[in-house]
Symmetry: C2
Subunit: 308 residues, 2 copies
C-alpha cells in the first residue's frame, strides 16, 4: 500500500499508533519543565512544494520562522528559540545569506532567536525549522465547548490568490495583486493574539491547510459540530477584486485556500475583545461535522499525498 492510497492524515494515524502518544495532533507539543510549559513544534518548507527558487530568499526565511511562530501562538504561547535545519544543493552563497537575513529579521520581529542548526546536502532546498515557545496555559484543539463562538483572526483566502498570481509569472501586477502576493510570500504570525488565546480560548489552532479542513480537525478533536456563517467570514477587498476579475467565489477561496496562518479559536461570545483582530465566524454545537449556514459541507483542504 502506498502513502497516496491513505493520504497524509491516514499515515499520521498509523504513526500515532506506533509512537503511542495521544498528544500528537496539536500545532505544538506541550511539555512541562519545572514550573514552565514549553511548546515544541517543527515545520518544513520544501523547494517546489512550498516555494520556488525564484522567490526572494529573505521571504522564504521570513516565512519559515513565521509558520512556526504561528503554531506557537495558536496554542497560546510566545516564541523563544529556533533551530534551523537546512538541506542545500550546491548553490549561490548569496541565496543562503538572504535566507538567513530573512530568518534573523523575523526572529527580531517576533522576539525569538536562533540557537542552533544543521546543514546537509541534498538535491533540493528544504528549510526545516524547530521552534521552542512557552505558555502560561496551553490551548489545543480538543477543548471547544458547546455554545462557544468560533473566531478567526483575519481575512482568509488571500494567500491562495497570491500563490495563483505568483504562478502566472506575469511581468506586471496591479497594487492589490501585489498585496495578495505579499500575503503569500511573507505571512505574519498573529503574535498579537497569543495572550488573548492563552487567557480565554477553549480550543485553538492555526489555519494552514484551509478553513474547512482545519475547522474539521478542530470539530473532530473536540467532538462537536461547527456551524460557519458564510457572510461573516472575513474577505479582504483585495480578494474580492481578484475574484471579480477571474470570475471566482471568494468564499470558496476562504474555505479551501491554505497557508493563511490566521488563528482559529473558540470561547464564549462575551470574551470577544473589540480591540483585537478577531471575527466571529461560527458557533459550536452538539453533534459532528461542519455546516456552512444550513448545509453540511465536506472539508476540502490540502493533503500532501492524497490523490483527489
Amino acid at each position: 500500500m502506498r502513502i497516496s492510497q491513505i493520504g497524509e492524515f491516514g499515515l499520521i494515524e498509523r504513526i500515532k499508533a506506533i509512537i503511542g502518544n495521544p498528544v500528537i495532533g496539536d500545532d505544538t507539543a506541550p511539555v512541562n519543565i519545572d514550573t514552565q510549559t514549553l511548546l515544541f513544534t517543527c515545520d518544513i518548507l520544501i523547494q517546489d512544494r512550498h516555494f520556488k527558487l525564484s522567490y526572494p530568499s529573505s521571504a522564504v526565511g521570513w516565512k519559515a520562522i513565521s509558520v512556526n511562530v504561528s503554531d506557537v501562538v495558536a496554542n497560546g504561547g510566545e516564541p523563544l528559540y529556533a533551530l534551523v535545519s537546512l538541506v542545500l544543493p550546491d548553490m549561490e552563497v548569496d541565496y543562503v545569506e538572504g535566507l538567513y537575513e530573512g530568518i534573523k529579521r523575523a526572529c527580531d520581529f517576533y522576539g525569538c532567536k536562533v540557537v542552533g542548526g544543521n546543514i546537509g546536502k541534498g538535491e533540493k532546498l528544504a528549510i526545516d525549522l524547530f521552534m521552542v515557545g512557552k505558555t502560561g496555559r496551553f490551548v489545543g484543539r480538543r477543548g471547544a465547548r458547546l455554545g462557544d463562538s468560533l473566531f478567526v483572526s483575519g481575512t482568509l483566502g488571500d494567500s491562495r490568490a497570491g500563490l495563483e498570481l505568483l504562478l502566472m509569472e506575469r511581468k506586471n501586477y496591479e497594487p492589490f495583486e501585489l498585496r495578495l502576493i505579499e500575503k503569500h510570500l511573507r505571512p505574519t504570525a498573529r503574535v498579537d493574539l497569543s495572550k488573548h488565546i492563552s487567557k480565554h480560548a477553549n480550543a485553538s489552532m492555526d489555519i494552514s491547510d484551509g478553513l474547512s479542513s482545519d475547522v474539521e480537525k478542530l470539530s473532530k478533536a473536540s467532538n462537536v459540530r461547527i456551524r460557519l456563517f458564510s457572510e461573516k467570514i472575513p474577505i479582504s477587498e483585495e480578494l474580492r477584486l481578484f475574484c471579480k476579475k477571474h470570475g471566482k467565489d471568494p468564499i470558496e477561496y476562504a474555505l479551501i485556500g491554505g497557508e493563511d496562518y490566521e488563528l482559529l479559536f473558540t470561547h464564549p461570545f462575551e470574551k470577544l475583545n473589540p480591540f483585537l483582530s478577531m471575527f466571529h465566524i461560527g458557533i459550536v454545537e452538539e453533534g459532528e461535522g461542519i455546516f456552512l449556514d444550513h448545509k453540511p459541507i465536506e472539508p476540502m483542504g490540502f493533503d500532501h499525498f492524497r490523490v483527489l
Copy 2:
C-alpha cells in the same frame, strides 16, 4: 560564489555572522529554563547521502534518534524529547511504519519520547530530528585545558569500513564484516558516559565527521594543540581483519572515517574511570594544530560541500 567554493564550514561562518550568536558550534545549544539547562539539537538523515532505501527502515529510524542522542550526551546531557520531521516521496506505508518502529525502539532504549513532528512531501526521503535534553552541567568544545588528557569512548573507523562493505552490495558477508556493517547501520549513542562527562570533562563533543577533523574542531574551539598517540587509538579486531583483507591502514580509517558516534572529551588523567569505556588517546598542549605522535597532521574529514 557557490557553496562548494567555501565548503560547509565556510558557509557556517557566514551564517554565524548574520545570526550573531556565538554559541552556535557545539553539538547542542544550551538554554536555561528556570533552574534547568536544556539542550537543543537537530540532525538530519538524507536518502542517498546518509542512507540508501535498501537499508532496513527500522535501522534508519534507530540511527536518526541515536545521532541526536549522541549530540546530547556529548554535552553531558540526557535525552528527553524528540520531534520527527519527515520529508517523504510517495512510497510504501510499510517502509514508513518500519522507520517509526526503529524510532520508537531507540526512544525506549535511550529513555526519551517522541512528542511531535511533521510530514512534508518531497522527491527524496529525509528524516530530520529535533531533540531536547537536559544536563546538570553543559560541557562544550571550548573548555579543554593545558595538561588535560584526551579520551575517546570506543573503537574508531568501524562505521566507515561497514559503509564500504555495504556499498559492495555483496550477497554474503563474513561475521566480522556483518559486525562492521551493524556499527554503521545501528550506532549506539554513548549514554553510559553522559554523567561522567557532565561531572568531569572540560571539553567534549561526539565524533561524527572523523577523528582528525573533530579533534581539530575541539583544538580550535579551545585554542590548544592536541597530540594524538597513534598506538593508543582503539581499533577493533573487526577493523584489523577488514584492513588486512583489503590492504588498508586501520589508523587511517580511525582518523578519517566518519559516523563513529563515539565521544571525544578531555579532563585530567586522574579522573579516568576504569569501569567506564574510555581510552586515553592524546594530550592537550600549548599551541595550535593537531599532531599524530611527533608529526603535525592535516585534518581530513567530511565536508558535505567541499570539492576536494
